[in-house]
Symmetry: C2
Subunit: 189 residues, 2 copies
């Protein structure tokens, strides 16, 4: 291992997103990302397996946050309330300072089929982890899987709304609205 670089991981992620936005994902090399961040390629590969993983570096932390919030919801709790608590915990992490970054990341992903596939896999993995967390709380099937899928649907729709142009409300607000809408449509309204 080389010498310690302060915030290397974050600097690389920021540099990568800048370059993907400016030049396109396909046209950007790891060497360019490292250079923009003022670091070496060797340092890049200590933090990320490849240039795709830079965009998904936060997904295991996100999954952990979701799963822990489900595990820690106080008893007794209806499955959907445990998911609502998890959505609230996750929403707090995405504060207003992260909105522009999230917008840029989404634009890069939507422009590339391979990145879209990766995003879908991460969401499917998140849904499976949530269903697993619910089963550990004695929620049976198919309720556990359905509640997890419903939670991911709310998260996806809320997140898309949050990063829409000119949207001012917080992720918590738009996610709560999406959850209320899901409850309304499944109730047949």
């Amino acid at each position: 291992m080389g010498r310690w670089e302060p915030n290397a991981r974050e600097r690389l992620a920021e540099a990568a997103l800048e370059l993907y936005s400016e030049r396109g994902y396909e046209q950007t090399t790891v060497a360019e990302i490292a250079k923009r961040a003022g670091l070496t390629e060797r340092t890049f590969f200590r933090h990320y397996a490849d240039k795709r993983e830079v965009l998904f570096g936060g997904s295991s932390a996100l999954q952990e946050l979701f799963v822990n919030a489900v595990a820690e919801a106080p008893e007794p709790v209806a499955p959907m309330d445990a998911i609502a608590a998890a959505l609230e915990a996750v929403s707090k992490v995405f504060d207003d300072g992260r909105r522009e970054h999230s917008r840029q990341r989404q634009a890069v992903i939507m422009a590339n089929a391979e990145l879209q596939e990766r995003e879908l896999i991460k969401l499917a993995s998140l849904s499976a982890a949530l269903a697993d967390a619910l089963r550990r709380r004695a929620v049976t099937e198919p309720a556990a899987s359905l509640t997890a899928e419903a939670g991911i649907a709310v998260f996806k729709v809320g997140f898309e709304r949050w990063i829409a142009e000119a949207e001012q409300r917080t992720l918590s607000q738009v996610t709560r609205e999406a959850l209320a809408q899901l409850k309304a449509v499944t109730a047949g309204r």
Copy 2:
């Protein structure tokens, strides 16, 4: 174009699934599929772009069936009822004669990461098409996207149940049960 081969498309699909189940997807070649079906490679490529597409040849018909059922649900209809009607229409197509085929296909897909990605993309595309069909019926956002995602969640969970070992109920029955469960969990029960 060569001479007409009766049911070439179906024969190729059956041969491919047999070989993928026996030897594994990676180990099977297009030449072997064509041979097993008693056809030429040239005929294979008239029907399918590659050996992956053989497994997904039915997805555009499935999407059309879903979207048409949403479009044709009689007015006035709540969005979730339009989706329920679509699930019912689709379920009827997967009769008991297709269960073993569906089981084999699922086993092949679950054994290969690339095929799982493909399946997720097809489901995401189906969800987007359903949301679009609902918007054409004047359902607003985010209700349209949430209802579509909820419908796909019910379909996925119902389908998995239907192909589970020893499951005897029809796809209609298990899908209706999954929808009822989704309504129960989103209502907080």
